[in-house]
Symmetry: C2
Subunit: 495 residues, 2 copies
C-alpha cells in the first residue's frame, strides 16, 4: 500500500509558489459552494506515521481555506463524560453538519491500530473492529458525508532523519519526546499493522489516500489538490442529482397473512387488585435495582415504541414513578430540530446517551426510521433497509459500553385503538393527545403492521431483544413492562 509513497516525490520551490495561489482560490471556491449548497458534509481523517506532517497539513488546510467553516478536532485521553459512554460517542460529537468540513486528527482508527501494535489485542479483535468501522463509514457515506481518509506515510529511514533533524534544532527540539523514539522502534510492526488496516478499510466509497510525507511542498500540494478534487467531484455529482448508490432487495411477506402481531393474544388481562399489588412489588424492585451498587457502572436505555394510543406514556410514568427523578430523563422523539437534520439520522440519539448510573427513556426512538419514515416515505427504501443493520450496530455499541438496552413494542388491536381515540376526544384534558395525523396514521394500519413485524424480525437480537407487550389491557401491559425491566437488569447484574 505504501509503494508509491516511497518513490521520493518532490516539488521544487518555484513550482510550489506558482501553483499555490490558484489552488487556494479554487479550494475557497469549493468550500463556499459546499457551504451554500448544504448538500453534504466533509469529514477528513488524518492518520499515519508520526513526523509525516499531519499537524502541519491540518494547519495548512485551515490557512488555505476559510477557517470559519472547518473544525479540526484532536482526541486525547477521553474526558469523564466521554469515558462513560460508548467509545464512538466523542466522534459523533465531532461530526460536522451539512455544508461544513470536519478534520478529525486521531479518530476511530487510532486506538485499534495502537492496541494491535502494542499487542493489547489479537488479530481477530482488530478485524472485528475493522468490520465495525467499515459498517460505520458506509453509513456515514449514505448519510451524506464525504469521507476523505488521508494516511501520512514516511519510510523508516525518513522517519529517523526527521526526528534527528527536529532534535538538532533548538527551536524544534521540544517536539521530539521519548515516546517518539520508543515508537520509532516499533516502526516495522506499525507498518505491518497499518498496511493490514488500510487494506481492510479501503472501500470503493471511502478509500484511503496515502500521502508521501517526506517533502513538505509535495505533501501540501498533494493534499490540497486531492481535497479539491473530491469536493469538486461530489459537488458536480450532487448538482446532477446523484445520490450514494443504494439498492434494496424486496422483503418477503408471508403468503398466508399470518404475522407476529396478528397471532398475538392482545387481550391478556389483569384484575385491578392483582395489578395494584404487582405494581407496588415491581416498582419497589426496580427502585432497589437502580440504587444497586452494581448499577453505578451500568446505564439503562429504555425504548418505547407502539401504535398511537397504545399506552406508551402511561407505561413510562409507571416506570419513572419507581425511580429518583435525578436519575432518569425521558426523551420524547418528535420532528428533528434543524441542527439534527444536518447530521446523520442517529446523531440525535447519540447526543442523548446516558452516563453511568443513569437512565434514558426514549418515547419513540431510532426505530422511527423503519416505522414512520418507511411507511410515510420520508426516506427511501434503501435507507430504511440499511437502517436495520445500522441500528443493530448502534445498540451493540451501547451494550459494549455497559448499557442495558430494553425495547418495548406496545401492541393494541385496531378496535382498541379506535375505542381509545374516541374516549380521548370526549375527555377535555386528553384532547391534545389526538390529532388529525393520528386519524391519518390509522388508515395505514396494515403498512405499519408489516413494518413492525419486519422491525422485530430484523432488530430483535440476542443482546437487545424486543419485548412485545400485549397492551389492550393497560394494567397487564404496565406490569409486563416493569417486570421485563427488572428481569433484564437482574440478568445484566449477574453477568
Amino acid at each position: 500500500m505504501f509503494e508509491s509513497a516511497e518513490v521520493g516525490h518532490k516539488t521544487e520551490k518555484k513550482e510550489y509558489e506558482k501553483t499555490v495561489p490558484a489552488l487556494r482560490a479554487a479550494l475557497l471556491d469549493a468550500q463556499f459552494e459546499l457551504l451554500e449548497q448544504r448538500k453534504f458534509a466533509v469529514v477528513v481523517l488524518v492518520n499515519g506515521v508520526d513526523g509525516a506532517g499531519k499537524g502541519e497539513t491540518v494547519n495548512l488546510l485551515n490557512e488555505w481555506m476559510d477557517p470559519r467553516h472547518i473544525e479540526a478536532w484532536a482526541f486525547d485521553s477521553p474526558s469523564s463524560e466521554e469515558a462513560e459512554r460508548p467509545h464512538m460517542w466523542r466522534y459523533w460529537r465531532a461530526l460536522p453538519p451539512l455544508g461544513k468540513i470536519g478534520v478529525l486528527f486521531g479518530n476511530w482508527y487510532t486506538q485499534p491500530i495502537l492496541d494491535r501494535v502494542e499487542k493489547h489485542s489479537k488479530k481477530a479483535d482488530l478485524d472485528q473492529q475493522l468490520d465495525a468501522i467499515n459498517r460505520f463509514e458506509a453509513m456515514l457515506v449514505q448519510e451524506k458525508v464525504l469521507l476523505v481518509k488521508l494516511w501520512f506515510h514516511l519510510s523508516k529511514d525518513a522517519q529517523k532523519s526527521r526526528l534527528e533533524a527536529l532534535e538538532s534544532d533548538s527551536k524544534t527540539r521540544w517536539r521530539v519526546t521519548e515516546h517518539d523514539w520508543r515508537f520509532y522502534k516499533l516502526y516495522d510492526r506499525f507498518r505491518e499493522v497499518s498496511e493490514h488496516v488500510l487494506r481492510r478499510t479501503s472501500t470503493g466509497q471511502a478509500p484511503w489516500l496515502v500521502v508521501d510525507g517526506s517533502d513538505p511542498r509535495y505533501r501540501s500540494l498533494f493534499v490540497g489538490r486531492t481535497l479539491l478534487e473530491v469536493i469538486r467531484k461530489r459537488l458536480a455529482d450532487v448538482a446532477r442529482g446523484w445520490v450514494p448508490r443504494q439498492t434494496a432487495a424486496p422483503l418477503p411477506e408471508a403468503l398466508d397473512h399470518r404475522n407476529y402481531l396478528n397471532t398475538l393474544d392482545l387481550d391478556r388481562k389483569l384484575g385491578k387488585r392483582e395489578y395494584a399489588e404487582l405494581l407496588e412489588v415491581l416498582q419497589g424492585r426496580l427502585a432497589i435495582l437502580t440504587r444497586d451498587k452494581r448499577f453505578a457502572s451500568r446505564s439503562l436505555v429504555l425504548v418505547f415504541e407502539g401504535s398511537d394510543a397504545a399506552g406508551k406514556g402511561g407505561a413510562i410514568r409507571r416506570v419513572t414513578a419507581a425511580m429518583d427523578a435525578r436519575r432518569y430523563r425521558v426523551i420524547p422523539i418528535a420532528a428533528p430540530s434543524d441542527e439534527e437534520l444536518a447530521k446523520p439520522y442517529l446523531w440525535r440519539f447519540w447526543r442523548q446517551l446516558p452516563r453511568k448510573g443513569k437512565v434514558v427513556i426514549f418515547d419513540r426512538s431510532w426505530y422511527g426510521r423503519v416505522l414512520v419514515e418507511r411507511v410515510e416515505g420520508y426516506c427511501t427504501e434503501a435507507d430504511w433497509m440499511r437502517a436495520y443493520a445500522e441500528i443493530n450496530d448502534f445498540e451493540d455499541q451501547l451494550i459494549d459500553a455497559g448499557a442495558v438496552v430494553v425495547k418495548f413494542w406496545l401492541a393494541i388491536s385496531a378496535e382498541e385503538q379506535l375505542a381509545r381515540f374516541k374516549e380521548r376526544e370526549a375527555e377535555p384534558h386528553k384532547r391534545f393527545k389526538i390529532t388529525e395525523e393520528d386519524w391519518r396514521n390509522r388508515e395505514k394500519w396494515g403498512a405499519y403492521e408489516r413494518a413492525v413485524c419486519d422491525m422485530i424480525d430484523r432488530t430483535g437480537t440476542e443482546r437487545a431483544p424486543w419485548t412485545v407487550v400485549e397492551a389492550n389491557d393497560k394494567e397487564f401491559a404496565r406490569i409486563k413492562v416493569l417486570r421485563t425491566i427488572c428481569e433484564q437488569l437482574e440478568a445484566a447484574f449477574e453477568q
Copy 2:
C-alpha cells in the same frame, strides 16, 4: 423568613386524597398548554434543609405531571468538562427550552451557601455572589423563564426527628450518612446564612417560596398548588399579550455629533515590507504564547466585530495561521438555530466556550444584541438596554474562570466600505461575500455608528476592554489585532 413554615402545617389523609386527583389533572393541563404555546420556559429551583423532602417532591412532581416534558437535574461534583469552564456553565447546559420544565436540584445557590456556612468565604464574598445571582435571574426572567424558587424548610427539632426516624427503619437507614449528622450540627449557622440569602435574593420577579417540609402531604399539596398557580398565571398573562415589565431610559447623544468612531484616524497605514516583517514576528510570538505552559490553565476568547467588509475574516485568518488547528475553533455567528431560539440569547455563546488551553474565535458575537438586533429592531429597546450589563456579567464570568477575553471593533470609513463592496462584486470568487442585505445595512450607517459607540462606552470594561482597530488599511489592522492579542496574553500570564 421561616416563621410561617414553622407553625406546624398539616394535611389530613382524607383531604389529601380528595384533593390530589383534580390537582394532578390541572397540573397536566397547565403543562400541556405550556408545551403547546411555547411562550416561556419554567425553571424550578429546589433548595433547603436536608430531610425536608426535596427529593421526594421532585419525584412527586414528575409523577403528577408528564415526565416527558420535565427534566430534573442534579449537580454533583463537576465533570472535567464542566470544571474547565465558568461555574455557571453547567447550569446553562441545563436550561430548558420554551415550553418545557426544568427542575434544578442543587443549583447556583448551593455552593455560595455552603461556602459561607463552612466559613470558606466571607460575608462580603457571599453578598457579591448574591448580587451576581440577582442579575442572572433578572436576565432569565426577561428571557422568558418563569423562575419558581422553592426553599424546603424544617425546624431544628424536626430535622433531628426526621434523621432519627430514617435511621430507626432498616429500609431507610442507608439514607442517613455521617455527613447528614455533621451538617445537622451546623443547623443554626445554616439557618442564619440561608435567611440572609433568601432575603437578599427574594425579588419581585423571582421571590422565594418557603415550603414547610415537616408534613409530606401538606408539603406536596403546597408545592403542587403553587406550581399550578404560577404557571396558570403566566399562561393567562402571556395570553393577553403581557411581557416582563421593561423600561429603558433614553440614551443621550452628543450634541455636536462628534463620537468615538468619527474622530478616529482610520487611515493609519503600514508599508508592505514593514507588514511582512511584523506579521512574521507577531505570528511567531503568538505561536509561542499559545504553546506556553501557562496557557494550559487559561483559555482565550476572541471577539471580532466590525462593519461589513471591515476585514474580520482576513484578520481572523492571520490569527489562526499562528496557531495549531487543533487548538482553536472559529465560530461564525449567523442566524440562530431553532434550538438556540428556544433559549436565552446568551445560550448559543455559552455552548461554545472553550476548555482550558483552547481558543475560541467569535466572528460576530453576543454583541449582535446591541448592534444588529438594536438597529433592525429584532428586540425591544429595553432588551438591548439591559444587554450591556448582562454582557459585562457574562464576560466577567469568563475572566473569573481564567479566560483572556480580547474584543475587536474593526472600523472602516463609509467610503472605504463602498470601495470594497464594488471590488468584491467585480471579483468572481468573492462575490458570495456581498449580498442585498449588505447594501441595505449600509443605508443605516448612522444608526450602526451610534450603536457601536454606545456599545464601546458601555461594555468597554477594565477587565475586557475594546480594541478599536483602524482598518481602512488591512495590513495595519491585522498587525494591530495580532499585537493586541499577544500583549493581552502576556499581561494575563504575568498576573
